[in-house]
């Protein structure tokens, strides 16, 4: 049996089918979590933002146009929820290095390459402004097009192209060894 498509589930969910909505939520949970983490850089806050987005999405699902893709619609809600959470908690992490990356403390992983890579990535991501970080993750990690991301983040497409360009350059500058080894 062919898997149910997003469009079918979204259409049913928009008609008030809770089971279809639950299936969509489960399908998008990991992706929304990654995007929320990219926005907030803090796992617990990110999970809270996804949860907030879930409530907002259910309240708004009746207004969702099933002819449009569900993913960008839901991710836009997640991005807005993350922004709301940041405002509520007065988070100022756009330019600051997360505490865990700045001072990871003793850890069995501390000396491993993986731990070093995680630290480097944390720091590199933390140096990016939030919108650039989101544009990069949504484009390169999640596979959305510039136009879809522009709609999600409510900015012109040219801005997203520029954001992705600058974000990639910053990541390469911050992770030169990684660039060489991965090439």
């Amino acid at each position: 049996m062919a898997p149910v498509t997003d469009a079918e589930l979204a259409s049913r969910a928009a008609s008030g089918d809770g089971e279809a909505f639950r299936a969509l939520v489960e399908r998008y949970a990991a992706r929304t979590r990654r995007v929320a983490r990219a926005a907030l850089l803090e796992p617990h806050d990110a999970d809270d933002a996804v949860q907030d987005a879930l409530f907002s999405a259910w309240r708004a699902i009746g207004r969702f146009d099933p002819a449009r893709p569900f993913g960008p619609w839901f991710l836009r809600i997640v991005v807005n929820a993350a922004a709301d959470l940041r405002r509520r908690r007065s988070l100022r992490r756009t330019e600051e290095v997360p505490a865990a990356a700045a001072d990871p403390g003793p850890s069995p992983e501390r000396d491993t390459d993986r731990a070093l890579l995680r630290e480097a990535l944390d720091k590199a991501l933390a140096t990016l402004p939030e919108r650039r970080r989101l544009a990069l993750v949504l484009h390169d990690a999640e596979g959305y097009g510039h136009d879809e991301i522009a709609t999600m983040l409510n900015v012109p497409v040219g801005t997203i192209r520029s954001d992705v360009f600058h974000a990639r350059r910053a990541m390469r500058a911050a992770l030169p060894a990684l660039g060489e080894t991965d090439r």
Binding site: G18, F21, R22, V25, E26, A29, A30, R33, R34, R37, A38, P43, D47, V50, Q51, L54, F55, W58, R59, R118, L121, L125, L136, V137, H139, D140, A141, E142, G143, G145, H146, R161, V164, F165, R168, R169, M171, R172, L175, L178, G179, D182, R183
Partner: protein, 114 residues
């Protein structure tokens, strides 16, 4: 990370995979299950709020209707009471007395006579 033209639509697949792995967590599957559970609760709460949304105007309308009926009955009552007082009190008591075969009928008469 590849050297793609950064203004292209093309994804930087290597960087994307690296970021996806970095932002993912070991408990993503458990998180998805938890979110599904949250969705169940959210949807059920949504159902109840929908019922409440529907019920509140209904209750208000019912209260208004009862109030209107009460007012109408209240306006009608004085006339009915006047008629009873002027002419038929004795008759009514007689009817009650003749019909009061049940226990307590005497007590009722005593109260009404008082």
């Amino acid at each position: 990370m590849s050297d793609t033209n950064d203004f292209d639509q093309d994804r930087d697949v290597a960087l994307g995979a690296l970021l996806r792995g970095h932002l993912s967590a070991a408990d993503d599957a458990a998180f998805a299950a938890r979110m599904r559970g949250e969705a169940v609760a959210t949807a059920q709460a949504g159902d109840w709020s929908a019922v409440a949304h529907w019920a509140l105007p209904g209750l208000v309308a019912a209260a208004l209707l009862i109030a209107a009926l009460g007012a109408a009955v209240g306006r009608a009552m004085p006339a009915s009471t006047a008629r009873t007082a002027s002419g038929s009190t004795a008759g009514s008591l007689t009817e009650l007395a003749s019909d009061s075969t049940q226990a307590g009928g005497g007590a009722l008469l005593a109260v009404m006579s008082y």
